[in-house]
Amino acid sequence: MKLLRITFLLVILSTTLSFTAHKFYVSITKVEFSQEESSLQIISKLFIDDIEDVLQTRYNPSLVMGGEKETEAVGKFLKEYVLQKLVIEVNGKPVTLHYLGHEYDNDVVKTYLEVKGVSELNSISVENKMLMELFEEQQNIIHVKRFKKRKSLVLEADNPKGLLNFN
């Protein structure tokens, strides 16, 4: 409990004087329109340290991400969390995200999601509140690719949702 409290405090107070030689709060979500498969292919990359802090705070202070100590519950928590924090509308209508799973790459965890039945992408609105409840400085960067065109959003706690038009 003490550990939890310290983590939580640290995080909330960490805004202005944070400097460290290493820490910056950022996640990257790539959304790509696949015409062939009539789908949006989504890969969301989060720093393991950050998402682990969040999942520990929300679900279980002793959970471990990655390696042999990762239990099945971690996958479940991660899925529940990502689906709750990531909300997408395509062409003005809310869509259902299908969560495919996660894998690790160095210090990053990648989660894979898919939106099916997207035959055309005229506009996309993305709300991504991941990690923001713990890290005030969190920036969630969204890259959307439709054929050769790419557009990006930078979402922050005071502005966690953005709209991109492709026409």
Binding site: I12, L17, A21, I28, G67, D107
Partner: protein, 768 residues
């Protein structure tokens, strides 16, 4: 003569060919003129003009000077109240040609004063929930009573000096202007409340362990002289909390009085070791000086645990002297374990030292000192032999911060002593990084307040080299990995950042305070840039020599960005202005691809283009010298049998060869069968070299690197004719992802229908 005529005719036709192509375009209005906006233009506008202080070759000029600030300090740590008291005497030497009417002193602790403005420049958003305590602290309480309390500022006769405090800067008005060569001595008495660094993530302070003891890591703890230089005058830009420091070199004589049961280590040579060490500690210290492979414990974990149970009311004074350092730091606690080992640097022995609470074990006892030693070897190889006598790594929770000879590092196992791979690599990485800061900026003393990348970026680059070295030296530390998994350094680690939103990006050449994504902008991107220079553009031999030259030229001096840029070119004969501009002065990105590949056949039969051209000029075929014509596959002039023809069938060519060459010369001729015109495109701004890998029908490959200068006349696309004896089946640009190309979907011909990252994963989970 004949050859000359032939050549000049061809020149005419080539020129005519170019005009011919243009004639077909619609006539448009004449474009206005423009400045030289070529990406290969030299950086005369961006760079300041070399002068007597800083030379055009990047070295210090004949009139280069730097100021000197020597300190005598007497410090007392009150462990009960967590306060630090100090009296310091500064002797300032004006080596500049200027007369100084006042001196600026930095009061960094004031960033935590109640009237600090640091919070006021940060935008904030409402968070959905806060801990009650933090809410009170933020909105209801007075906040922590931080900042320097100045008791006096006196001249060397004890008379008060007038001074003015502007937040984190203090101006001292000297009674008589300091002329060149003048020395001025004055004293400051001060104290401050030490902050809990685990709460506000300050760069220094104390951590309260669960047993109630404090671990102190103390820095920015004394009023410090600002830098006066030829470029900035006084560097008195305020300390807002993020941009680090600019400090002159000097000698330090420091006494530190702490509870007698504390273990303490600090910048500088310990002068009274016999007074503060027990006999056992002395014996262990002597053993450590001869141990090159394994650290020797000076204070064991059991001894640290035993000491933690007491609280001495008596004190002990530790005396240190440090020469030619730019700053001072120390760590003190009764809950410290201490180990050391020797490491050979050149022909000297340096002590690699670690100080950590039992909370750091087993990780710290196993690895910290070995990481320090390995880091010193790598950095010494890349720059210059480590000039100080020791390097200390102190374990402090959540810290990663550097001072001369001493640094604070994170990486803590859980209560049962277990730790994840991330904790371990986090600890290795931060120790290498912070020990590496001894070189940049402690010795190669750049201005951190202004140019974060000059210490963080350059240091992160060498950190990458040192991490790889460490992995090779201690394979058991990184197993089952074969190489150290560096987070920063390799080109592809910066792609996500550089592909990002341009509105939230600043060039590297931006004051650190004003950049958006600090980690990527000031650490990762410059490190990747230098790695690309070393591995891809210059090669290791040229790069390493130039990098060493820069380090040695500016060792114990104050370099500016141009000094680095100029030295790297001057010592290597590689023109890098284009690279500095693209990578450091803009937010451009790399994107190069293969746009088009055309196949050609050679014939002696005149093709349509040339026929139309000569007809337009009223010439006949007989007016021309014997020519060899290229015909594109599928074009009007193309005939199926061209495919099977060889160069022997091209009569104009054969006649020329027979008439002009001896049999010996003829025997040496190559006989290419396949001719291609490849068009490379460059949607990205950065003119990187084109690294093209050609795969032939027999499965062999050949790699050709076209230098970046290939883009100097056409920034968007460039053609290349390849004559080959074998058929080309595949072309890949940047096959090893070494140029930070942000979009690799255009890097292959034929277009690779490659299974993307997403589909790969989908395939993988399908079977499960």
């Amino acid at each position: 003569m004949k050859f000359f005529k032939f050549a000049s005719m061809i020149a005419i036709f080539l020129a005519a060919g170019a005009t011919y192509a243009q004639d077909t375009e619609e006539t448009k209005e004449r474009d206005p003129g423009h400045y030289n906006d070529n990406r290969f233009k030299q950086l005369y506008e961006e760079f300041s003009t070399p002068n007597m202080y800083r030379s055009g070759n990047g070295a210090p000029g004949p009139n280069y000077y730097q100021q000197q600030a020597d300190y005598v300090m007497d410090l007392r740590l009150d462990d009960k109240t967590a306060r630090l008291y100090g009296v310091e005497t500064i002797t300032y030497t004006n080596n500049s040609p200027d007369e100084l009417e006042y001196l600026w002193v930095q009061l960094d602790q004031n960033v935590r004063a109640r009237d600090s403005k640091s919070d006021l420049i940060e935008g904030s958003g409402a968070v959905p929930a806060e801990m009650a305590g933090s809410f009170v602290g933020k909105y209801m309480g007075e906040g922590f009573d931080g900042g320097f309390k100045i008791d006096y500022v006196n001249d060397d006769n004890g008379r008060p000096l007038p001074y003015t405090i502007n937040r984190t800067m203090m101006r001292i008005d000297v009674p008589k202007n300091l002329k060149t060569g003048d020395k001025y001595t004055f004293s400051i008495k001060w104290w401050y409340n030490i902050p809990d660094h685990t709460i506000d993530r300050a760069r220094s302070g104390y951590e309260k362990f669960e047993d109630g003891n404090n671990g102190y890591v103390i820095a920015q703890f004394y009023p410090r002289m600002a830098v006066y230089s030829d470029v900035e005058g006084w560097q008195n830009s305020q300390f807002w909390g993020r941009d680090e420091f600019a400090l002159p070199f000097g000698d330090f004589d420091v006494t530190i009085t702490v509870p007698s049961d504390h273990i303490l280590d600090a910048t500088g040579e310990l002068l009274n070791r016999k007074e503060v060490f027990s006999k056992t500690m002395m014996q262990r210290f002597e053993a450590a000086k001869k141990s090159y492979k394994e650290p020797v414990l000076i204070v064991t974990e059991a001894e640290a645990e035993a000491a933690s149970k007491g609280f001495a009311t008596t004190t002990k004074t530790w005396k240190f002297r440090a020469e030619n350092v730019r700053d001072y730091g120390f760590a003190s606690s009764r809950r410290f374990i201490w180990d050391m080992m020797a490491v050979k640097i050149g022909n000297r022995d340096v002590m690699a030292v670690s100080v950590y609470p039992p909370e750091g074990n087993p990780l710290w006892g196993d690895w910290s000192t070995k990481v320090v030693a390995s880091t010193l070897k790598s950095y010494s190889r890349m720059t210059f032999d480590y000039p100080y006598h020791k390097a200390i790594s102190v374990h402090a929770k959540n810290q990663g911060m550097e001072y001369p000879m001493i640094c604070w590092n994170y990486g803590r196992p859980d209560k049962d002593g277990n730790y994840s791979e991330r904790t371990k690599y986090g600890m290795f990485g931060v120790i290498i990084h912070e020990v590496g800061h001894n070189y940049f900026p402690m010795i190669v003393n750049s201005d951190e307040r202004q140019w974060t990348w000059m210490d963080e970026g350059i240091n992160t680059f060498v950190q990458y080299v040192a991490e790889q070295d460490f992995g090779e030296a201690y394979p058991e530390a990184i197993a089952p990995n074969k190489a150290y998994p560096s987070r920063r350094g390799p080109a592809k680690t910066i792609v996500d950042y550089m592909a990002g939103n341009q509105n939230k990006m600043a060039p590297i050449m931006t004051k650190g305070l004003n950049t958006y994504n600090f980690g990527s902008n000031a650490y990762s991107k410059p490190a990747v840039g230098l790695n690309i220079l070393r591995e891809t553009i210059m090669g290791r031999e040229l790069f390493d020599h130039a990098f060493k030259t820069y380090s040695q030229r500016w060792m114990f001096k104050h370099p500016n960005p141009e000094d680095f840029f100029r030295t790297m070119e001057d010592a290597s004969a590689v023109d890098l202005d284009w690279f500095w501009r693209a990578w450091f002065f803009t937010t451009d990105y790399t994107d190069i691809g293969v746009k088009d590949v055309k196949k050609f056949y050679v014939t002696s039969k005149m093709n349509k283009q040339i026929r139309e051209m000569i007809e337009a000029r009223g010439m006949k075929e007989s007016d021309l010298p014997p020519l060899v014509y290229l015909v594109e596959e599928g074009s009007e002039d193309f005939e199926e049998d061209m495919k099977t023809a060889t160069l022997n069938d091209v009569t104009t060519l054969q006649t020329f060869i027979m008439d002009n060459m001896t049999p010996a010369e003829r025997a040496k001729l190559k006989s290419p069968k396949y001719f291609y015109e490849i068009t490379f495109e460059k949607p990205g701004g950065i003119p990187m070299p084109i690294i093209a890998e050609y795969t032939y029908s027999d499965g062999t490959t050949k790699r050709i690197t076209y230098p970046a200068q290939i883009w100097r006349k056409n920034d968007a696309s460039v053609g290349k004719v390849i004559a080959s004896e074998k058929e080309i089946t595949k072309i890949v640009v940047d096959p090893d992802e070494e140029t930070a190309d942000i979009d690799t979907s255009n890097n292959s011909w034929p277009k690779l229908k490659k299974l993307g990252e997403f589909n790969k994963f989908k395939e993988k989970v399908k079977g499960q």
